[in-house]
Symmetry: C2
Subunit: 243 residues, 2 copies
DNA sequence: CGACTCCTTGACAGCGTTCAACAGTAGTGG
DNA sequence: CCACTACTGTTGAACGCTGTCAAGGAGTCG
């Protein structure tokens, strides 16, 4: 289960687009693959690298002492993560599926920052800003939205970040979704079922129910924006069973 | 109620410590006072200034369409806020009590950034980092902690940020606390009462119950770290009523 | 004193959790 | 192919933590 960085990562040099702006055209690059469930770095560890996902998906999370988990972000292809301003990582990162990442040595970013151009530093700032914005949006979702709203927001976020594909292929288990939304897996499942029964989404059948077709993005957005209440969705026997 | 920046802000030049590092020793400074409830800036507005609190307290929050509010952060004396990397503010900031702030014109930070030293840019990065760290810690609290744990965390945070005074004088109403923690005011009140009945905290009596004495920080930290469950605190008739 | 606001407390309801059982899928080996 | 196992996801029933609604207390200001 525990697969740390090993020495056999073949070093090729297709310098990725996103990280190049941060680290320059140097040969500090490595290519590495993590198998499903492998830890990329752990909370409390000293940051040595920054990462950009080439293929796959990664979750960053924190744990409470009793094992409860809060996922802070999902990282999808193209995403950069592992950027830390302090001496330790504030999240643990794990590959959700088999994942290939580009790895850059971290000291190029910060220890040598004085020698680099200000434009690059601005990229760091923008990066931080994006993370911060996402975190703050997530605060609102976690603290103030109801279960079915959270699930709708999640689907729309995945749809947007995956460029609105015909079928949203979730690389996530229900447990991952639940920890992202601050819910239980049963609640996520119930909300998804309610959406399906309403014709808002449908499942592709294969690979568990992880392939979702958003059949009515408009209505999904309405759910996300609190236009419907719990009892209108989860209790089927109000005024809908007759129709 | 709506008190925007007016022209009569007397300009004095006791250049504040924190912002000086960001903006330099220039005369871009102003001093301004906001009365209780006044809006400093609103969500969606174009950022024109950055602020450092001289005295008072400020809340930054977002609203859902139906009026539900999520406070992202409280700003206390010395805190810098209003720093935005994008074109609009992502929060609304209001003075919780009568508040005096230092104001710096924002363009010195970003439009002229090329002329400035890299060390200053680092400060921006550190600033962003602090906000991001706080937001991410708050995600965990909002998504995965129970009501009494949230309230305990809140008290400890205020205690820490106020430098562990003998009496924690909260500049916040119960509504503010509740919106910060993703709870209702009644739940906050019930948790505080439970702490009081257990002898963990006590109130100073005056000024509503906004002056809190932390009589047992150790036990409060245990509550915050999920060492006790709801039923052990909120149901008085288990094994404690006899004693 | 009355009016107002903030806070507390109680009773009840409800949303989400918990516990449990079941279904669907994948992998293994016969 | 099926049997068996393990894992993931769904669904039902009951519970419980928190929200909702309501009343009352306490401080403030007129």
């Amino acid at each position: 289960m525990i697969v740390r960085i090993s020495a056999n990562s073949t070093s090729v040099k297709p310098v990725p687009h996103g990280l190049r702006a941060l680290t320059g055209e140097t040969s500090y690059w490595n290519n590495h693959k993590y198998s499903q469930g492998a830890q990329i770095f752990r909370n409390g560890e000293v940051p040595e690298y920054i990462y950009q996902i080439r293929e796959g998906a990664v979750r960053s999370y924190k744990l409470l002492s009793d094992g409860r988990r809060q996922i802070g972000a999902f990282h999808l292809p193209g995403d950069i993560f592992g950027v830390e301003m302090e001496s330790v990582h504030r999240f643990t990162a794990e590959a959700i599926v088999d994942t290939t990442v580009w790895i850059a040595t971290r000291h190029r970013l910060f220890e040598d920052v004085d020698e680099r151009e200000l434009a690059d530093t601005r990229n760091i700032v923008e990066l931080l800003h994006n993370s911060l914005e996402h975190a703050q949006n997530h605060l609102l979702l976690l603290g103030r939205q109801e279960a079915h709203e959270k699930v709708a927001c999640f689907l729309l976020e995945m749809d947007r970040r995956l460029k609105k594909p015909p079928v949203v292929v979730l690389p996530l288990s229900r447990t991952d979704i639940a920890d992202y939304l601050g819910l239980r897996i049963e609640t996520v499942s119930r909300s998804l079922s309610a959406f399906r029964h309403r014709g808002i989404i449908s499942f592709n059948g294969h690979r568990g129910h992880r392939e979702v077709i958003l059949k009515d993005r408009t209505k999904l957005a309405e759910v996300a924006l609190s236009k419907y209440r719990y009892r209108d969705w989860m209790h089927p026997c109000r005024q809908h069973c007759s129709g």
